[in-house]
């Protein structure tokens, strides 16, 4: 963007500045450290100038918001038109309790629901499965059948809210339950708004709630794409997630790289299944992490947007600009929170909120201060939501679009992250694509290496985490943490017993058999799953039938 002469002169002048004036100063008073790095260990220069962005072409590399390559944002007016959706992930123990929490959050001004499921639900086990012992209702709501789902959304009009469900391996089943609840409310599927996470690849990489092997999992995902493009057109069929990859310890560039590599795999699978790119790509959405290195995170979001736009246009030949638009949800980084001096976490979350907003997120979940200790209390959840509201209404950062654009540092870093991510994607392509690279353990190993390095830096005191390895105080154990009632498991078991004796078991069995047959063939499974759900087949029964046909995934670990 700058003319060559200015850039060259600046480069020369900067060199002179560093070699003479700075060198002299350093001889007397050295800087705090020999090298300065970002939160992701990328080296940071002393000063960025126009020379660092000499190759930047404004129209080509940044453009206008709402236009290719979407570096500055996906909507033309961004937060001047509409603020991001404030969406707090919540789900507690039973459907009844969660339902109460949702109603409370809606009253508090939250604009979208986000459902957290307990681990047995996420792995397709009913609450009475032996492996569910001790886990029922622990990290989210336990859903065993349509009955629970009816209670979960009781009194919440599904045509009025948008619902995000953090569900992956059994996503098709939970989506089917949601559609079935809507039917009972008299709301047709085409009116439904929301998102299912449905991103199995990152489960293999980082989060661990997988069920089936790669291929049948990819089939289920493309089945959902296809079904929704016809029947549930406003539904976001996948939320391709870097969040958990980052939580597992990746760097910012790795987060972008591995998330986009997963995205590429889903697009390829859908294209291979015969779908038209512009029919499904506009419904793809993403999910990122926001960490403490404010400026690097802003650059990360911008780089991810630009890179995805290029990939969709150049690699997949998408024509519809909406296919090239990377819309994403953000959650503040859970792993950045400390159990020590937990109130400090409020400040961390505020910085991360700024990063997400300055990075142009479409929706945001802010973590609660006590999440490193236990599930958040109502008060903590409220502070987390208020943090978003303060940034939205008081900080001023939402009043103009992409306000950090043009900063030498931000633009240089946006370029760097894009390039580093691209290099990783090339490497993954060479390994045969994301599913293969995951199968080989390559992606996991790269993340593990970063995580280990980070931990060792903290232990060596090279990286300071306030309250953790510096500025510690003697603390009383925190009080008033939320505890999950251990009787939830028993309650769910009782409900299951009632369900199994109250339903038309012959009909349920029939529907499960049809599903099994369909799974053995190659037709779209969504209608069969819906039928089974309507007949009150349990999640465990449905996943059990699919387990029989598909087998189970074996974890790939390179130690």
């Amino acid at each position: 963007m700058p003319d060559n002469e200015t850039a060259n002169r600046t480069k020369q002048e900067k060199k002179e500045w560093e070699e003479t004036r700075i060198a002299k100063l350093l001889a007397k008073k050295p800087e705090r450290k020999d090298t300065f790095v970002t939160g992701s260990n990328a080296e940071v220069n002393r000063l960025y100038t126009i020379a660092d962005i000499e190759n930047l072409d404004y129209l080509e590399d940044l453009g206008f918001p709402g236009e290719y390559p979407f570096t500055r944002g996906v909507q033309p007016t961004m937060y001047r038109g509409k603020l991001w959706t404030m969406r707090q992930y919540a789900g507690f123990a039973t459907a009844e309790e969660s339902n109460k929490r949702y109603k409370y959050l809606l009253e508090q001004g939250q604009t979208g629901l986000s459902v957290a499921f307990d681990l047995p639900t996420q792995i397709g086990y009913d609450s009475d499965h032996p492996l569910s012992e001790g886990e029922v209702g622990k990290v989210g709501v336990a859903i065993d059948s349509l009955k629970d789902m009816e209670i979960l959304f009781d009194g919440i009009p599904l045509d009025k809210v948008s619902t995000s469900m953090t569900i992956n391996a059994p996503a098709a089943v939970l989506l089917a339950m949601y559609i079935a609840v809507a039917e009972k409310q008299g709301v047709s599927a085409d009116k439904l708004n929301g998102t299912i996470q449905n991103d199995i690849l990152k489960e293999y990489i980082a989060r661990g709630t997988y069920i089936f092997p790669t291929e049948p999992s990819m089939r289920l995902i493309t089945n959902i794409f296809e079904y929704c493009s016809k029947e549930v057109p406003k539904w976001n069929t996948i939320s391709i997630s870097g969040y958990h990859i980052r939580e597992a310890g990746s760097t910012a560039s790795q987060e972008v790289a591995f998330t986009l590599a997963d995205g590429i795999a889903y697009v390829e699978a859908a294209v291979k299944a015969g779908l038209e790119i512009d029919d499904f790509a506009p419904r793809l959405s993403f999910f990122f992490n926001a960490h403490n290195d404010l400026l690097e995170e802003v650059a990360k979001f911008r780089a991810a947007r630009r890179l995805w736009a290029k990939i969709m246009k150049e690699r997949f030949g998408a024509k519809d600009p909406r296919s090239m638009m990377m819309r994403f949800h953000t959650q503040t980084g859970g792993s950045t929170l400390t159990a020590q001096q937990p109130d400090n976490n409020i400040v961390r979350v505020a910085i991360q909120t700024l990063a997400a907003v300055l990075g142009g997120t479409q929706s945001l979940h802010t973590n609660s201060r006590d999440e490193a200790l236990a599930l958040p209390t109502e008060e903590s959840v409220r502070i987390a939501l208020r943090t978003q509201q303060i940034v939205a209404y008081e900080s001023g950062v939402a009043e103009t679009i992409d306000p950090l654009a043009g900063s030498y540092y931000i633009e240089a870093m946006t370029d760097r992250i894009e390039k580093e991510a691209m290099d990783y994607i090339k490497k993954i392509d060479e390994l045969g694509g994301a599913p293969r690279a995951i199968d080989k353990g390559y992606v996991q190993k790269e993340i593990q290496d970063s995580a280990y390095k980070y931990q060792m830096e903290i232990e060596a005191g090279k990286r300071i985490v306030v309250g953790l390895n510096k500025f510690q105080i003697k603390e009383e154990p925190p009080k008033g943490l939320l505890k999950v009632d251990p009787s939830v498991g028993e309650l769910q078991k009782k409900k299951l017993l009632e369900l199994r004796s109250g339903r038309d078991n012959a009909d349920t069995f029939d529907k499960l058999q049809s599903l099994k047959k369909a799974a053995q063939g190659d037709s779209n499974l969504m209608p069969y799953i819906l039928d089974a759900v309507r007949a009150y087949a349990t999640l465990g029964e449905i996943c059990g039938v699919l387990r029989e046909v598909f087998g189970e995934y074996n974890q790939s670990v390179i130690l």
């Binding site: 996420q122 001790g134 886990e135 661990g208 597992a248 200790l373 236990a374 593990q448 995580a451 953790l468």
Partner: protein, 133 residues
Amino acid sequence: MDRPIRVLVAKPGLDGHDRGAKVIARALRDAGMEVIYTGLRQTPEQIVEAAIQEDVDVVAMSILSGAHNHLFPKVVSLLREKGADDILVVGGGVIPDDDIPGLKEAGIAEIFTPGTPTSKAIEFIKANIKRLA
């Protein structure tokens, strides 16, 4: 002869967050120990059988789902049942302070909560293994 300490690093329960388990596995390896890593979704029965067959000195478990009060004590009691109570059992993860006394009473020698340096876990293991080196 200086024999390496053998440790089983296990993730009981259903949560898939193995960042901590993998970091500690690696740190123990780098401290010269033989670490047997068994992967996700382990039942207490599986952990105990593996610990016995591998004749480990230590079982180190990590849980982030909140199922620790159920699963950690179960592992200890199964080890006792099998006469393998000379194995040191430690745990880590998101574990509220309120739960720690109960877990220790149940026989978990130490609980490492978020933010504990790996060096502390290594020292603890070296100082507390029950079997003579």
